[in-house]
């Protein structure tokens, strides 16, 4: 790594650290129904109007079941809407290219994909989606699914923080306030920043241009346009990742400069990172919040640096052709190079943002395994907005239980007992993810329709399928793009993976919140450490060990085997 790369990485982490407190405090106020924020002047009237129109009683809180039902219904309505928008885009406005309706199974897949904060894309946006569909069908979900994730995290945190009550907040109030006071202002700022770097925002028809070297182009030379900046900002801020273009953040219009690339990475980690501060503030243990943050940072550094070094090694097969340093530039943009490509890959897969600025499928086997491994850890290294925090807290509960016994007390977390019910729900959430990833990918690789979609042979093909189901089950949306998963069985299986991976996990998560919130708080001097090096180590080790133990066998058959065979000169 060059010194400049180190500086960029240090700058990245430091900016996050610096923004943690102000943003964390802001989120804390947003998630407090009566909290005052700096945007009250603009959005308070809108908030009150919203309550009035929708007849929301903001003082009425919900228990966990009511909260869950509210979120499920709201998301269901949104997904239904998206499905119909995509199916009817040819008759809807803002379609200058006269794009036809999306195929039913792709529309089904896409509606679920955006509704679950996954943003897996089984379609080519510039060819198959109108501006209207982008804004109404897709970008809408980028907001609401992000708000849903943050609301869930807030509900979970309330479950831990509150004592001897039944309610964990009001989901309608949470959704409204998160959208108005957090997502909307930050997206606006993000959109402006990205526009300054060259991300377009217009409603023009696609541009037909006269190329310089006309003989080098067959057919029309077209540059798609659209309301890109507004969607790009929330795509990253809400850890959604669904690209306006097929090439996603590798597309020069989505990510024109190295600086925009840096901004995008910051936008992705911004909220998940500040949520740890919000959590620390809520449980009145700032050190605990910071320790969780530090665990995330350390895991992230280990994984992103390994990704870089593994990719930096270069492709041994390039040797006969005299290629400098054997650098694997396939599927990478010149302006980003190896470092910013691998860093972006690590950021997007650590968080639940399916954006890519390079093609992960063309990464070397082991460096391509890092994004995959990142996702299979459960997207808790910062993770998705909200889902990262509650996912991480599930791991905290598991590690507190596992290691907490060793201090000779019934395991407790912040004074709440971790009993059979909490453990049952925490492992249930984990098991759902594992069943989806391992079960569905093994089913796909067993079926002829599954193997028919492969873009590469040998162990790499296995990785493509595993990657697809890991990405969808964990609601990331990143892809090994070689897999052409547009067939009906794929569209449906992946949609189910996304749906179950999101909404089936929500239920045990809220159930834990519902159980913890009723408990009284036990106070003891002899408690499990919730901050400091020991805690960070324990949490990191639990996450790493669980992930490694569950996925090592299948990873051995995929990227590890591919790497070892490449080292022996075997091609596929």
């Amino acid at each position: 790594m060059r010194a400049s790369d180190w500086i960029e990485l240090a700058l990245f982490i430091s900016i996050l650290a610096v923004l943690n407190k102000p943003l964390g405090i802001h989120i804390y106020r947003v998630l407090d129904t009566e909290g005052k924020t700096i945007f009250d002047a603009i959005f308070k009237p809108l908030e009150n109007l919203t309550y009035k129109i929708c007849s929301i009683d903001k003082s009425k809180e919900q228990n966990w079941i009511e909260y869950a039902i509210g979120l499920l219904l709201f998301n269901f309505v949104g997904m239904l809407l998206t499905y119909f928008v995509l199916r009817m885009q040819h008759v809807l406005p803002l379609n200058p290219e006269h794009i036809g309706p999306m195929a039913p199974h792709i529309a089904f897949n896409t509606a679920i994909s955006f509704g679950t904060n996954t943003n897996w894309q089984s379609y080519i946006p510039e060819k198959e989606v109108s501006y209207f569909s982008q804004m109404v069908g897709l970008a809408f979900h980028n907001f609401t699914s992000a708000a849903t994730g943050i609301a869930l995290a807030a509900a979970f945190v309330r479950g831990i923080v509150r004592t001897e009550v039944k309610t964990i907040g009001n989901c309608w109030v949470d959704l409204t306030r998160i959208t108005y006071y957090l997502l909307l202002p930050l997206s606006l700022v993000g959109a402006l920043l990205l526009m300054s770097q060259g991300v377009p925002q217009n409603f023009h028809a696609y541009i037909r241009y006269l190329p310089l070297d006309s003989k080098a182009h067959e057919g029309a030379c077209i540059i798609p346009q659209g309301p890109i900046a507004s969607q790009e900002a929330i795509k990253l801020l809400g850890t959604n990742g669904g690209g306006f273009f097929n090439a996603n953040s590798a597309h020069p219009y989505e990510n024109p400069t190295p600086l925009s690339n840096f901004m995008e990475m910051l936008l992705i980690f911004l909220i998940p990172s500040a949520l740890t501060y919000y959590f620390g503030l809520s449980c009145k243990k700032l050190r605990h919040g910071w320790s969780i943050w530090l665990t995330m940072v350390l895991l992230f550094l280990v994984l992103s640096l390994s990704c870089y070094w593994l990719e930096h090694a270069g492709n041994p097969f390039f040797k006969p052709y005299g290629i400098e340093q054997l650098t694997n530039m396939e599927g990478k943009e010149t302006r980003f190079g190896i470092f910013e490509s691998t860093l972006f890959a690590a950021v997007t897969t650590a968080a639940s943002c399916g954006a890519v600025n390079s093609m992960h499928d063309s990464f070397l086997p082991l460096s391509g395994m890092i994004p995959l491994f990142n996702m299979s850890l459960g997207e808790i290294i910062f993770g998705g907005v909200g889902s990262g925090l509650y996912g991480m807290l599930l791991f905290v509960i598991l590690s507190v239980f596992l290691f907490g016994l060793m201090i000779g007390r019934t395991p407790g977390y912040l004074g709440k007992r971790i009993g059979a019910y909490e453990i049952k729900m925490a492992v249930l959430a984990l098991m759902i993810q594992y069943i989806l990833i391992l079960g569905m990918s093994s089913m796909a690789i067993y079926s002829s329709w599954g193997r028919a979609a492969l873009g590469n042979n040998g162990p790499h093909g296995l990785t493509e399928i595993l990657y697809a189901f890991t990405s969808t089950s964990q609601n990331n949306g990143s892809a090994f793009g070689g897999l052409s998963a547009t067939s009906i069985p794929y569209a449906i299986c992946l949609a189910l993976a996304m749906y179950f991976g999101r909404f089936f996990v929500i239920i045990p998560v809220l159930a834990i919140a519902g159980s913890l919130v009723c408990q009284k708080r036990y106070i003891s001097q002899m408690v499990f450490p919730t901050s400091g090096a020991l805690f960070v180590f324990i949490l990191g080790a639990t996450i790493f060990l669980l992930g490694a133990l569950s996925f090592f066998p299948v990873l051995t058959l995929g990227p590890i085997l591919e790497h070892l065979m490449m080292a022996r000169g075997k091609m596929f």
Binding site: A216, H251, E330, R335, E562, F572
Partner: protein, 194 residues
């Protein structure tokens, strides 16, 4: 009943948020873009003296003629409607075959001896298929061919390249790279077609 009430509430909230998030928000950005960044928000388009759009500064184009600097290999030959990469595995024999072909072609085209190393971006397809940049080394290696085709002084071409080289921002962000379209536009300006 309660369920129904929640459903109605969901629909109402969805419609209201649609108006704000899918309507007001993108149009606000659009208007601010028009005011603050008219060039960027319009797509960074290059319009020539005759009013023809010659492309976007951000979107790469394909170049075949020896008179131009060539962009990186693109899976879709710079088709704006088909952005994306090859997604080929590094262990794929198909991929290595392509590398071999591109390397041979590049060496032949630019007259590079087999002992000399060539930069990876010259033989590897980009992620977007629309990469507007090539590496400095790649541009410099192409310089003799372009100079020959344009009957220009090699040194002058090299200077032109250096002039059009984007250095990493603050020496931190990004790679040293050359915008091919911009370079070729300058080239056409400095050494116009006879």
């Amino acid at each position: 009943m309660k369920l129904f009430h929640s459903l109605v509430l969901s629909v109402k909230l969805t419609l209201l948020l649609l108006l704000i998030l899918s309507g007001i928000y993108p149009f606000t950005v659009y208007i601010l873009g028009k005011l603050l960044f008219p060039y960027q928000s319009g797509g960074s388009l290059i319009i020539d003296s005759k009013g023809h759009v010659r492309g976007s500064l951000l979107i790469g184009q394909n170049f075949d003629s020896p008179r131009y600097f060539h962009s990186r290999p693109s899976v879709s030959t710079y088709d704006g409607l088909n952005s994306g990469g090859s997604n080929l595995a590094p262990s794929s024999s198909d991929f290595i075959e392509r590398i071999k072909k591109r390397a041979t072609h590049y060496r032949k085209e630019n007259g590079i001896a087999s002992l000399n190393l060539i930069p990876a971006d010259a033989v590897c397809a980009s992620a977007s298929g629309l990469d507007p940049h090539i590496s400095l080394k790649n541009a410099l290696l192409q310089a003799p061919r372009v100079a020959k085709a344009r009957k220009a002084d090699l040194k002058a071409i090299e200077n032109l390249i250096l002039k059009n080289t984007q250095n990493p921002l603050a020496n931190i962000f990004g790679e040293k790279s050359v915008n091919v379209l911009k370079l070729n536009l300058e080239l056409d300006k400095e050494y116009p077609l006879p």
